[in-house]
């Protein structure tokens, strides 16, 4: 299929979803009321609660939800063929993705801007809040491991990337100093630093820095450590800010390349039902998380956007609009992986050699070539923006993880309240996972924890709608599908890794490159424990959610007679 047709399909689905389905839910079920005072208006404090223009908010929402997730997932999923990946992205966003983001925001808005921690405690049960926090913690650790692995593999394979990353670290930190300390003009600073970063990427093609994967794992963790412990304005945020322009330029270039070159998908529409990491159902549905539905979005929508919307009717534009935009980004990632390689063999070889980052770099450089950008610079540029996207997410995630460690274990072990110890503990677990784990399974587990957060958000929305005597079916069925799929994916992954341990010990399966049999067995064992923990937590949540739903729908039956915990 022609890549322009894929892009058009995504745009048409987004338009129908936004103007028909989302409009129907917004007007008929939720009945967004322009006269109702939102938390942003009622509790305006200039910090957390602040009425903000919907146009500013959609830009901010999109930036907060669209990082590497909607790009990496589809690139991996091409192994099943581009058609299942595309269908899941289109139908996933149409029926589930925007529903999740939009409803999370309206749930928080109609409950005084409360966070999901408080809402899960009140709507489901006290342990639902603890379960949500544990999902978040595993989500953070697994995303660190998955992205750390991607970054290190990429930097070890493409030696023009490391210098570009070092240059970007320098320009980002310099931008922070100029903006916040020197108070330089922001336009001037931005222009100068973006230009310097581009020069740094060019110099990377000349000054190549070779290194092993272990070296670059340690480098990525050190980079993230600095981001986690230094003031956010001095390091993490300006690097994020400058790198964003490069990413924006790259994606714009890729989109233009598609329109000019309109390459045709060279990989098959469908390959086989079961690939290395597992069968199409349920594994594809957790492999592509952010591009279709992601639990992370519920946290952004509830604790951020819901507290800044100045009018209830703006919610559809901001949250559903940003999700449909992300769907187009995910479709772009499908094109990069499926239409820029000679055939499926070339794609598979690149995946095996340098992972999704390598596929992205090679694919994007092919698209940039339609604009006349030389292949060497194109690959270094695309590789650098992929690594930068991953590494800036790692900085923020490690920052979260150290706070999460302090919150979850700080009472039992007071030393973990120390930010350095908290960050080092998260880094040690991450290193252990990367050194001993298998990338494909780590990504599946990461997707699983993410989708469980999404299922929990949809569960809260369903219970809230039921308690309000509104039509809850538009949230209930996506929630049932997501729970069933994710629980199945986790169970399948745990079983597969258990099988792998047996095969490794019997010598029937060679350990991954750079690992001994003992390390691979340990890595599989750790991953099984994580999968089982998530599985049990999800089942407990299903039980608690069912009871809370029963109280809301059938208040006079035995299910509805139980004691209700109030926050």
């Amino acid at each position: 299929m022609n890549s322009v047709v894929i892009l058009l399909l995504a745009v048409i689905t987004a338009l129908i979803g936004y103007y028909v389905y989302a409009k129907y839910v917004d007007e008929k079920i939720i009945q967004a009321d322009p006269k109702k005072a939102t938390p942003a208006v009622m509790y305006m404090d200039g910090v957390d609660f602040m009425p903000t223009s919907r146009h500013v908010l959609i830009g901010y929402q999109f930036k907060s939800i669209a990082a590497l997730g909607p790009i990496t997932g589809p690139i991996i999923a091409i192994q099943w063929g581009w058609l299942p990946a595309l269908l899941w992205i289109l139908f996933g966003v149409f029926f589930i993705g925007w529903v999740h983001d939009y409803s999370s925001a309206i749930l928080s808005m109609r409950n005084e801007g409360q966070s999901f921690g408080a809402l899960s405690y009140r709507l489901i049960s006290p342990r639902a809040r603890v379960t949500l926090l544990s999902f978040i913690y595993f989500y953070l650790i697994l995303i660190l491991a998955a992205f750390g692995d991607i970054v290190a593999t990429m930097m070890a394979k493409i030696s023009s990337v490391p210098f570009a990353i070092l240059a970007l670290m320098g320009t980002g930190a310099l931008a922070g100093w100029m903006i916040y300390k020197k108070r330089s003009d922001i336009l001037y600073t931005t222009f100068l630093m973006v230009a310097l970063s581009l020069i740094g990427i060019y110099l990377g093609t000349v000054l190549k820095i070779p290194g092993s994967k272990t070296l670059w794992v340690l480098f990525a963790l050190l980079f993230s450590y600095l981001g986690a412990v230094l003031p956010i304005w001095s390091y993490t945020q300006p690097i994020n800010y400058i790198s964003f322009y490069l990413v924006f330029l790259g994606m714009l270039g890729a989109a233009l390349g598609i329109l000019i070159g309109h390459p045709v998908a060279s990989t098959p529409a469908f390959t086989t039902y079961t690939i290395g990491v597992g069968p199409l159902w349920p594994i594809l549905f957790v492999t592509i998380a952010c591009g279709a539905i992601s639990g992370w979005h519920s946290l952004v929508s509830s604790s951020g956007t819901a507290r800044q919307l100045q009018n209830e009717t703006h919610n559809r534009y901001v949250t559903a609009g940003a999700m449909f935009l992300e769907m187009v980004l995910a479709a772009l990632a499908i094109i990069i992986a499926s239409a820029t390689f000679k055939d499926f063999g070339a794609y598979a070889a690149e995946m095996k050699a340098s992972g999704p980052a390598g596929v992205f770099a090679k694919g994007m450089s092919s698209l940039l070539a339609y604009l006349g950008i030389p292949g060497g610079f194109g690959t270094a540029f695309a590789g650098a923006i992929f690594v930068i996207l991953a590494i800036t997410v790692m900085q923020l995630v490690l920052r979260f993880a150290r706070i999460a460690t302090a919150e979850l274990a700080g009472d039992a072990i007071p030393a973990l309240r120390n930010m350095h110890l908290g960050a080092l503990l998260a880094m040690a677990i991450t290193y252990l996972l990367i050194a001993t784990g298998t990338y494909g399974y780590i990504w599946t587990l990461f997707g699983g924890s993410n989708q469980l957060m999404a299922s929990l958000a949809l569960m809260m929305v369903t219970i809230w709608l039921a308690s309000q005597k509104r039509n809850y079916h538009y949230a209930l069925w996506p929630m049932v599908f997501m729970f069933l799929t994710t629980i199945s994916a986790l169970a399948w992954t745990a079983y597969r890794m258990y099988e792998n341990i047996g095969k490794l010990q019997a010598g029937k399966l060679p350990p991954p490159a750079g690992q001994t049999v003992g390390m691979a067995v340990a890595g599989n064992g750790i991953s099984i424990l994580i999968a089982l923990f998530l599985l049990v937590a999800a089942l407990i949540l299903v039980w608690d959610g069912f009871k809370a739903f029963g109280k809301a729908v059938w208040p006079t039956t035995s299910l509805g007679q139980g004691k209700t915990k109030e926050a």
Binding site: Y43, M44, D45, G46, V47, D48, F49, M50, T52, S53, H55, V56, L57, I58, G59, Y60, Q61, F62, K63, S64, S115, F116, G117, A118, R129, L132, L133, I136, Y137, I179, Y180, I186, P231, I232, W233, Q237, N240, Y241, F244, Y245, L299, V300, S302, S303, G304, R307, L396, R399, F400, I403, A404, E407
Partner: protein
């Protein structure tokens, strides 16, 4: 035609601002809130039984800061947990 163009340009400019500069404003807003809360604590320390330094000037300033009290109280009493990701970004 001109007004239609500017009607389109306005939202596009705002979208770009949110897209590109959204996060940069966060540390500034947080810092402003911290400074403001320190000032409020100084001005209203007497409510907590603490002596107010510069009572004469504080008295003059009180009416200007009255409207900040509910927001201050809400922020201080609000339960913060990991799900408030906005604070960490």
């Amino acid at each position: 035609m001109n007004s239609q163009f500017s009607r389109l340009l306005g939202p596009l400019g705002e979208l770009t601002r949110g897209f590109l500069l959204g996060n940069l404003a966060e540390p500034v807003l947080q810092e402003r809130a911290r400074v403001q809360e320190t000032l409020l604590a100084l001005l209203y320390a007497e409510l907590l039984g603490l002596p107010v330094p510069g009572r004469y000037y504080a008295l003059g300033l009180l009416p200007f800061f009255c409207r900040e009290l509910p927001g201050w109280k809400r922020r201080r009493l609000a339960e913060k947990d990991l799900t408030v990701v906005h604070d960490l970004m």
